[in-house]
Structure formats: C-alpha cells, structure tokens
Amino acid sequence: METLISRLTASFGMINAWYAMIVGVLIALIAALLGVTLVLKRFSYIGDGLSHVAFGALTVSAVLQMLFHFQLPDDMIIVLPITVIAAILLLRTGQNTKIKGDAAVAMISVGALAIGYLLMNIFKPKSSNVSGDVCSTLFGSVSILTLELKDVIVCGVLTLIILTVFILFYNKIFSITFDEDFAKATGTNAAAYNLLLSVIIAVIIVMAMDLVGSLLISALVIFPALSAMRVCKSFKSVTVCAGITSVCCAFSGMLLAIVAGTPVGSTIVAVDLVVFIIFTLIGIIKKGAKA
C-alpha cells in the first residue's frame, strides 16, 4: 500500500503527469460526445479507420522529410489535412457513393495501415526500430507522459472550440443523425453539417492518437456512447451521460495505469469495458423491474 501511494505521489510530483491527466480527460470528453452521433449513424469504426489514415499520413510525412531533407515544425501540417479529407469522403453519405459505409471505412483503414507500414519498411526513416515505431503509433506512445505546457494549451483551446461548436449545433446534429432525409427536405443544410462533423472528428482523432494510439481510439469513441445508451432514454441524457462516463473512465484509467505501471491506452479501454458491462446489467435490471 505504501509503495502504491508513494508511486502516486511521485508521479504527481511530476508536472508531466498532470499534463497527461488534463489532456487525456479532455480528449475522452469530446470523443464521447461525438461518439454518440457516430454510433447512431452506424459509423462506429470510423475512429479506427481515420486513425489508420493518420498513421499512414504520419509515415508519408516522415518519408517526405527524409527524402527531401527538410524539417517540418510539426507533422500535423501533413497529417491533419489528409485525415480531414478522408473523414469528409467517408461521411459523405449521398446515394451516389459506390462503396457504402462499412466497406468504405474498412477499405480506407486497412489500405492506409498497409501503405504506412510499407513505407516505413522501405525507407526506414530516422529511427531504425520499425516495429517499435509501429507499435507505439498503434497502441499509444509514452509521449503523453512527456507532454509540454504548449501541448496542453493547444489541446485545451481545441477542446473549447469543439465543445462550443457542439453545443451551438447540438439540435442540428440531432436532426441529421435521426433523419437526414427529413432534415434535408425541410430546409436543413445537412451536407454542411456533415462536413462540419467530419472535420471535428478528424481533429479529435489526430489529437487522440498520441494518447491511446490508433487501435484504441475506436474504444474512446464508442464505449461511452454504448454504455450511456443502455440506461438513458433521451438523446440529451445519452450525450451528457456519455461525456461524464468517458471523463470518469479516462481519469480512473490513467490513475490505475500510473499505480499499476500498465500501458495508459489499454488501461483506459479496460475501464471503459467494465463500465459498459455494469451499465448493460443496470439496463437489464431496469427493464426487468418495469415488466
């Protein structure tokens, strides 16, 4: 017990652990809010797909910098636009798309992953430890524990912007999620709001990649939403409940990870999974009590 507490206090003596906490909780919050819409629109796997795109874009950026001997101030200059474009293409739901929903997501996801890994192997940028690099990108790097104040501020500002946009457009997001045709027919500019959603989602995923890695982003997006849907009856309560659940899971997951020395990303997801099971049971009991 004493060692646990001393490990905790030692961690929290480090300012970096606090930074990681703040960033983790913020990302968990906005990922969960958008997750409700994504799950209901049947785009649960978009988090996974887009994060693979971001991974592919990251390797492209690294290879380009190596081949042409220049240094970008930040890889995001290449990664973010590519991910945004992929998100727009995936969520453009019109009847004209030839490859539909799940197949399109799967195709882009696997394709980008393969290209990224291929490029890394062929060009072996900077560090020669290919499998190590791939692993940290997929499962979350330790970089969350080496965040600087600058990163925290950027993340905070982005979260604030996304939250504001989400609240202002909350009713519109509900309309196009519940019934896009009706929304279009009665004069809501569904295409514009879909575009807005795509951009927000891409930004969240690029932000979240450092925290939990590409493979586990889906979990941050879908688990809180699914948990909330087990027990809540209205869209508003589902959204609020998903946000709160996600923040609690991320917070306690990171505490656990620090105490037990486990990987941050997978610990958070494990907590999310446990909460999902608990909520499911509550949902069943509630239903049983009513009947």
Partner: protein, 236 residues
C-alpha cells in the same frame, strides 16, 4: 394559384427515366393519394417534390405562399430510427430545425406550437417516453407530429400505414383525415391501400404505364381506375 404544380415532369435517376411527362396540381385543402404498382416511381416523385432529387426535366413549382421546404414530410422508418435513444419531445421539436437557420436553440413559441401539435395528434401521454420503446403506430404518430411542426399547409406521407395492423392503420387514417378536414391541411399520401385512398382522398394520381390524374369520382369512372381498383382492391 395552386399550392403545388408539376408540369411536364420526367423523373428518374442515373439516366433511367421512370415517369414521363407528368402533369398535376394540388390546391389548398386537397387530399391527394398517389397510387401505382411497385417500382412505378412513387417514391421518386415524392423525393422530387421535396427537392431531394432534381427532376430530369419539367418543373415542380410551389405557390400560394408555400415554400418547398415548408412541406411536412412523414418518411418511411429507417433502420437507424428503430433503436434510436431520443425522447418523443426531442423528435417533435426537430421538425422546426429547417426554419431555424443558424439559430442554435428552439424558441418558446416553437415549443408551444409543438405542444399543440402533440395534442392534435393525441400523443400527450407519450411526450417524455423514449421513441424506441413505442409501438409502430405510436412511432408514426410521433413522426406525424414532427411533420406538422415543419408545415402549416401541406403534409407529404410516404406509405404511413406500412407495417401497421388494421386497427392502428384505421386510427392513423382517421387522424390524417381529421388534420385535413378540421385544420385544413393539404395532404399528399403515397399508398398501397386503394380502399383507404377511395374512402378519404379527394383526388387520385395513378402513375405507371397509364397515368391518371383527377378527382376520385373521375378515377372511379375511368378505365385505369376501374382496372386498378378491381386488381388491388380485394386484398387491402
């Protein structure tokens, strides 16, 4: 000036024409039933009226102060909606969304109108219930209340009775008729149910190989009409 006028309308998608040279108009207070075999282009026509699909040629013109985005629409249910966690109130409010432009929230006036529409449809008791826990008929009535929030003049109903049992269907038709008779709302309904069409409609539009548009009596006396009624009337 009619509420809705379609002139020389040709419909279809991906270059395939389904409906050729369609002409009809709808005046205030009319109850128009659109009938026809499966695949005759009923749904395409409806999407064109709503502005979701562009016509291949010809025109759809709204008049008498009706704008195209002021048509209340009752779509067929999608798979997404069946397990959607939303309260009845949230769904009915969303009928106003198109009118709100960039304004983020609903006004007190809109909430009041929504409450009136909920009363007109007779679903006050369901207001706080969760949509996915309602029966099929109740869900249709919720969507009808939402459609009323989007319009004061015209409703467009796409097979409103699909999947409902006869008793619930009759109740739904009675509500729609009530909206038409008592509140003067113009109704355009796509239907398979020729019996209901003949009972409630004032006008019939039959599309398919033979196109017919006219009042109910004219349809009954026409060759197209009598053949269609004898073919489909028995099983409804």
């Amino acid at each position: 000036m009619a509420l809705l006028t379609c002139t020389n309308l040709c419909l279809g998608y991906d270059g395939n024409e389904i409906v050729h040279d369609l002409n009809f108009c709808v005046s205030a207070g009319d109850y128009l039933c659109i009938v026809g075999e499966n695949g005759s282009g009923k749904s395409t026509l409806m999407k064109t009226i709503l502005g979701l699909l562009p016509p291949m040629s010809g025109s759809v013109v709204t008049g008498d102060g009706l704008k195209q985005n002021e048509i209340g629409y009752l779509p067929q249910q999608t798979a997404i909606q069946k397990d959607f966690p939303a309260s009845v109130r949230e769904i009915v409010y969303s009928g106003f969304q198109g009118k709100n432009g960039l304004r983020p929230f609903y006004s007190a006036r809109q909430k009041q109108i929504a409450a009136e529409n909920i009363r007109k449809i007779g679903i006050e008791a369901l207001t706080n219930r969760c949509y996915r826990e309602l029966s099929g008929g109740q869900q249709q009535r919720v969507l009808l209340a939402r459609a009323l929030c989007a319009t004061e003049k015209m409703l467009l109903l796409d097979e409103p009775a699909a999947g409902l049992d006869p008793k619930v269907t009759a109740e739904l038709y009675r509500i729609i008729d009530d909206l038409n008779q008592r509140y003067g709302i113009t109704v355009i309904m796509i239907s398979h149910d020729i019996d209901a069409a003949m009972r409630y409609a004032t006008h019939i539009l039959h599309i398919g190989k033979q196109v017919f548009f006219g009042s109910k009596q004219e349809f009954e006396n026409s060759e197209t009409g009598s053949r269609f009624i004898s073919l489909t009337g028995g099983d409804a």
